[in-house]
């Protein structure tokens, strides 16, 4: 009897479902490509709306005569590399030295709240701490310093960008920590560390030789994203960064917003230069990766155990705790300034507290607050729908995510924001979309979607598929499985992903500013705009509101399932 190949069962699926992953890919690639074209063409002199119709290098020639241009490039490059290196080292040494301990569990719980603090708020908090008239100087004055006036020092906005690096490091540590925590189980960190400990290796050495090779592969894209971000960040640079000259990205923004429209050609050339600087930083990092891997391979056969790593371990823990403490203390100081009455130097605390600052600031903050909430709600909502669609398509089609898909997912995070947003704004202007709410939401979505998908992917994929089998066996369709079983069971991670998206959207500065054309001020654009001024009370109120919005999102994401499933023990976390 001839064998008949058993045909694959026909699933009466919905062909429309494939539209969601297609849309998601288009969203990740489209704006980046369009934006880069929109920057490269004007940089080469082609921008018909401003009279540029022929290709030339004039814009680059003009760019090269900008004063301090090379110093700006150096700042972007050095700040990016130093920031990434320090944050990466602190996270690795801390994880290597302390995983499985109580201190580790403590830090683990703090990661998400620290991550949710927007960059701008953390940067303001740091500035309020370390400024010559800041909280730290007040704490030690006049008893230790003898100062009764703030010293004349350039601490914030220092020439080399040291305070900016510090502000970035404290914010990148929680991000790298989170992606590392997610990757540790796959890298079989616990088991391998036990093996190396059994062979007599110190924690740091054992981790470096046994866990890092696997772990680094998992966290490589996020690390590169941190590097790309740090070389091109604008909002933190405007708050903490050097001003004469500023890092390149800030200067591109200045040229872009110059009243002389002709300066846009210079801005376009600057955007392309920024792309080059970031690419160069990535190249240096990738070379460094190879060197480090080589060194490890050379060192491993020597068999040195490096048992005495106490100093390193303690330094790792100290740096980790310090970074958390700076964020928390910064928020406290912001809150104090927001409610401060008279607060003279060197008093450690204000003479009085009042709500007068809030009463003064709030009327002008209502509209930015509503804008921010509306944009963030829309962007995170759409991002969750797209992510669910992509994941459900993946599940039904029986596909597994590929490395290529992951690179695409990280694309908007690997290309400097200023480089493609500048061009995207030009494209949107052509389409008469600049300044529309829809355009802002789309651009936010570009940055929100990767984080939402990264947050939702693991819990969604690790759902026990047998629940689906049981449901099918009860005679239910794919759609019933999705709507009545999988989605309700995963309510908590779905809402957490939405809160992550909400937090990302709230913190976005450049996309809101450039694509919104100033017509949609948000709490973040308002806060950053205050950086140039000296009204600490107003900054305190604005930055404090900015900082608590993401917390509110996460609180809701916890509260909703807690109420919905109050009588369902297994639906609780770790249930």
């Amino acid at each position: 009897m001839a064998r008949v190949l058993a045909p694959v069962p026909n699933r009466p699926g919905s062909p429309l479902l494939i539209l969601l992953p297609v849309l998601a890919f288009a969203l990740l690639i489209g704006p980046v490509v369009a934006g880069l074209l929109g920057a490269v063409l004007p940089a080469l002199g082609f921008l018909p709306t401003l009279g540029g119709t022929s290709l030339s290098l004039a814009a680059f020639e003009e760019l090269s005569t900008e004063p301090g241009l090379w110093w700006s490039c150096w700042l972007s490059l050095s700040i990016g590399l130093v920031t990434t290196m320090i944050s990466f080292l602190i996270v690795m040494v801390f994880v290597a030295g302390w995983q499985g301990t109580r201190a580790f569990g403590f830090v683990e719980r703090l990661v998400s709240p620290m991550l949710s603090v927007p960059h701008a708020a953390a940067a303001f908090g740091l500035a309020f701490l370390i400024a010559p008239s800041g909280a730290l100087m007040r704490l030690v004055s006049p008893h230790l310093t003898g100062l009764t006036r703030p010293p004349d020092l350039l601490i914030v906005n220092d020439l080399w960008g040291v305070s900016m690096m510090a502000g970035l490091v404290i914010k990148e540590i929680p991000f790298l920590m989170l992606v590392t925590l997610a990757a540790l189980p796959q890298a079989r960190s616990r088991e391998l560390s036990r093996v190396t400990a059994g062979l007599g290796y110190g924690r740091l050495a054992g981790f470096t030789h046994a866990v890092m090779p696997l772990l680094y592969r998992q966290i490589r894209l996020p690390v590169l994203a941190v590097l790309a971000y740090a070389t091109s960040v604008v909002d933190v640079a405007m708050i903490l960064g050097p001003t004469t000259p500023a890092p390149l990205a800030v200067r591109v923004l200045q040229w872009q917003s110059d009243p002389d429209l002709h300066r846009r050609f210079v801005a376009a050339a600057g955007a392309v230069l920024q792309l080059g600087v970031t690419a160069f930083a990535l190249l240096i990092w990738l070379t460094g990766e190879r060197v480090m891997a080589r060194l490890c391979r050379i060192a491993a056969p020597s068999g040195h155990r490096y048992v005495r790593d106490r100093t390193g371990r303690i330094a790792g823990a100290g740096a980790m705790i310090l970074s958390v403490a700076i964020i928390v203390a910064g928020l406290v100081v912001l809150a104090a300034w927001s409610a401060a009455g008279l607060w003279r130097f060197p008093d450690a605390a204000p003479l009085s507290f009042s709500l007068a600052n809030w009463a003064r600031a709030l009327p002008s903050l209502v509209a930015p607050l509503i804008n921010a909430l509306a944009i963030a709600a829309a962007a995170s909502g759409f991002a969750v729908i797209l992510a669910l669609g992509a994941l459900e398509y993946e599940a039904r089609a029986g596909k597994t995510p590929t490395i290529r898909a992951l690179v695409v997912l990280f694309l908007p995070l690997l290309v400097p924001q200023i480089a493609f947003l500048f061009g995207l704004e030009i494209v949107f202007a052509r389409l008469a979309l600049t300044g529309t709410l829809a355009a802002i939401v789309v651009v936010h979505l570009v940055f929100v979607f990767p984080y939402v998908l990264l947050s939702l992917g693991d819990p969604w994929r690790s759902w026990d598929r047998r629940y689906g089998h049981v449901t099918h066996a009860l005679g239910k369709s794919d759609n019933t499985v999705f709507w009545r079983v999988r989605l309700p069971m995963l309510t908590r991670p779905v809402l957490t992903a939405a809160a992550v998206g909400f937090a990302v959207s709230i913190g976005l500065y450049l996309p809101t500013l450039l694509v919104g054309a100033g017509r949609w001020p948000t709490i973040t654009t308002e806060a950053v705009a205050l950086a140039a001024g000296a009204d600490r009370r107003l900054i305190g109120v604005t930055a404090f509101i900015q900082a608590i919005l993401p917390f509110a999102g996460f609180a809701l994401a916890l509260a909703i399932p807690a109420v919905m499933f109050r009588n369902r023990a297994q639906m609780r976390p770790q249930g």
Partner: protein, 221 residues
């Protein structure tokens, strides 16, 4: 040993071969009469769970199968799982954690029973039949292992399956409970005339099932 004149009623696994890449994982040709149990035994890795997922209709695409699954003479091989109506029990009861016990059963209950009151009554009655009176509003997480297993069985039976597929459903129960649940499952299947395919590595299960037993040999190297 294919015999085209075999009884047309019941579940027939005809000339099934499952391959993993180039290697043959298993071959089986058997049938189960209504109310009977076919036990497929094998060590882990022998492919017995893979066989079950092929019969149920969700074979992982890494596998490749030939042969057909027939119920009462009708070929179901091309039908998706939800149209085969094979009740499925795993070693975990897999009660939906977001629904109450009653919610789980209402979800499983065949749509042929209409009307809110009628459906609720069917669920309450089914619970009473397995000594779970008053459990409809309970959170599944608060039930004991044996109680959960019974709810899972009831949920499956309420969907009016045409056959039962059991994937080591007793292996996680403690000894006293194991006997009780096993008897209950086989009893119900017999009473409804359902053909049962049981895969297990526990010889006690095979003995209790009382029907034909097939041993899957370990995969050829």
């Amino acid at each position: 040993m294919s015999d085209p004149n075999r009884t047309a009623t019941g579940l027939a696994l005809r000339d099934i071969t499952i391959m993993l890449r180039q290697a043959r994982l298993l071959t089986i040709d058997a049938c189960v009469a209504p109310g009977d149990v076919l036990t497929v035994m094998g060590a882990s890795g022998s492919g017995k769970s893979t066989l079950l997922s092929f019969v149920a209709g969700f074979l992982d695409p890494v596998f490749f199968a030939t042969g057909s699954v027939l119920l009462d003479g009708v070929d179901l091989t091309t039908l998706p799982a939800e149209q085969r109506r094979f009740g499925l029990l795993f070693q975990d009861p897999l009660l939906f954690p977001h629904l109450s016990v009653g919610g789980n059963l209402l979800f499983g209950l065949s749509p042929d029973i209409r009307g809110r009151a009628g459906r609720l009554a069917a669920v309450i009655e089914a619970l009473a039949e397995v000594d779970l009176v008053g459990f409809a509003d309970r959170d599944p997480a608060t039930l004991s292992g044996g109680q959960r297993a019974r709810v899972a069985l009831v949920r499956t039976l309420l969907s009016r399956p045409r056959a039962l597929l059991l994937d080591e459903p007793f292996s996680k129960l403690d000894v006293s409970m194991k006997h009780q649940i096993r008897t209950l499952v086989f009893e119900r299947a017999r009473a409804r005339g359902l053909p049962v395919l049981l895969v297990t590595h526990d010889p006690d299960d095979a003995r209790a099932a009382g029907g034909q037993t097939i041993n899957l040999s370990p995969p050829c190297p």
